[in-house]
């Protein structure tokens, strides 16, 4: 992730306020973590539902 950041900063020859203080990194990190957590829980719910649906279909046959 830091590589991506460095690459983007190099593209802009000037640095920002936001980055100088490091806040941007924290915010991005937190946001990505929340997204990952959300994605994980949704995926697990999805898998569970698929299993349940399969089980109930098998019961019916």
């Amino acid at each position: 992730m830091t590589l991506v950041m460095k690459a983007m900063l190099l593209l802009n020859s000037l640095e920002g306020f936001f980055f100088g203080s490091g806040k941007a990194h924290v915010v991005t990190g937190v946001a990505l973590m929340i997204l990952a957590g959300l994605a994980l829980s949704l995926w697990r719910m999805d898998r569970r539902l698929t299993q349940l649906e399969k089980a109930s279909r098998e019961d019916n046959h």
């Binding site: 000037l14 936001f18 941007a24």
Partner: protein, 347 residues
């Protein structure tokens, strides 16, 4: 194969949102002027400091002479001398004349690499009499140089860095609209056919939409606190949004109150149809006809509320797709849960 597409769009939406987060928070902001100190000027020589936010528009070893600042009163320009330039500010000295076409002065900073920065109504001269600027201190417009800022977000006064919220707040409302629209169609179908499946779709849609509506309100409130100074203002768009959330909460309360009554479906569908029509009226029709603080109003429904820079567009459109797809995923999960519960209960 169906299974593969299934995982593709779901994983794709997550990846898209990851890209939005990275780019949305990783892109620097273009520079823009925020304040002028002092803002009240007296006649005679005075020194002003213009402070900027966003990316630096100068580096430590730039010569002040490269930066031209003019002050505009009415349609005439007043010349200034740039004394000092730091990455985020410009200090200039100006000889304020006794006559000016207007009392309010706008400031223009012409930079070599960051384009032209503008601050409207930067300074006021109370004592000036109305008249033309004397020729001795009048200036011509300096040459404007194209900005070389790379991929960066546009600067908007008051909003500054919080423009990144555009990637959260707006797509969330779009997603809510989209899913509530789905629910509306489901309710209409439910009234036509009286089938339980359409009813389940409507309920799933409302539940998911409500989550996004609440998130939209929360992101909007945070944004309002930063830009307007208050967590909430009485504004048609905001009132409409709150009423919408309350309406759909009422829908869920109605369903809860009816419990297992078999008329739940029809009654809930009727209420949903009513609620959606109110939503369209409140959020799309009314705000167009009344004045509003909300960005994008005065006629515009808010799609192109900002001068959507190409850089912003590159992140905004993916955000809309990403959040929309995520909303739809949550909706399908809720729908499948409803169906499964229904299957279990009706065995």
């Amino acid at each position: 194969m169906k299974g593969a597409w299934n995982w593709t769009w779901k994983a794709g939406s997550i990846l898209l949102l990851g890209y939005v987060i990275l780019r949305g928070f990783g892109t620097p902001l273009q520079p823009g002027l925020v304040t002028a100190t002092p803002s009240q000027l007296r006649i005679g020589t005075d020194t002003i400091v213009l402070a900027a936010a966003g990316q630096p528009f100068a580096s430590e070893d730039d010569a002040p002479a490269d930066f031209h600042v003019v002050l505009r009163a009415g349609d005439q320009l007043l010349q200034t001398e740039t004394v000092e330039v730091t990455p985020h500010s410009v200090r200039l000295s100006v000889d304020v004349p006794a006559t000016l076409p207007a009392r309010a002065l706008d400031a223009f900073v012409f930079t070599p690499a960051a384009g032209t920065l503008f601050l409207g109504n930067a300074c006021f001269v109370e004592e000036a009499a109305k008249g033309d600027i004397p020729a001795a201190v009048r200036a011509d417009a300096p040459e404007e140089r194209a900005p070389q800022l790379g991929f960066s977000f546009p600067y908007q006064p008051n909003i500054i860095e919080s423009i990144r919220n555009l990637l959260w707040h707006v797509p969330m409302w779009f997603a809510m609209f989209f899913i509530m629209g789905l629910g509306f169609v489901a309710s209409l179908a439910q009234l036509r056919t009286d089938s339980a499946d359409w009813d389940m779709r409507a309920e799933a849609a409302v539940k998911t939409g409500l989550v996004f509506g609440l998130l939209g309100l929360a992101t909007g409130s945070l944004w309002a606190r930063w830009t307007w100074g208050a967590w909430w203002v009485s504004d048609p768009q905001l009132n409409g949004a709150l009423v919408t959330v309350l309406l759909y909460s009422g829908y869920l309360i109605l369903r809860a109150a009816m419990g297992d009554d078999d008329r739940v479906g029809r009654l809930a569908a009727v209420y949903n149809v009513f609620a959606f029509i109110m939503l369209v009226v409140l959020l799309m029709v009314l705000p167009r006809y009344t004045e509003s603080l909300h960005p994008g109003k005065d006629g515009n429904p808010g799609f192109n509320s900002y001068d959507l820079d190409n850089s912003l567009r590159a992140v905004f459109y993916p955000a809309v797709i990403g959040w929309g797809a995520l909303c739809y995923w949550m909706y399908t999960l809720r729908l499948r849960m409803n169906r499964h519960a229904y299957r279990l209960l009706s065995r």
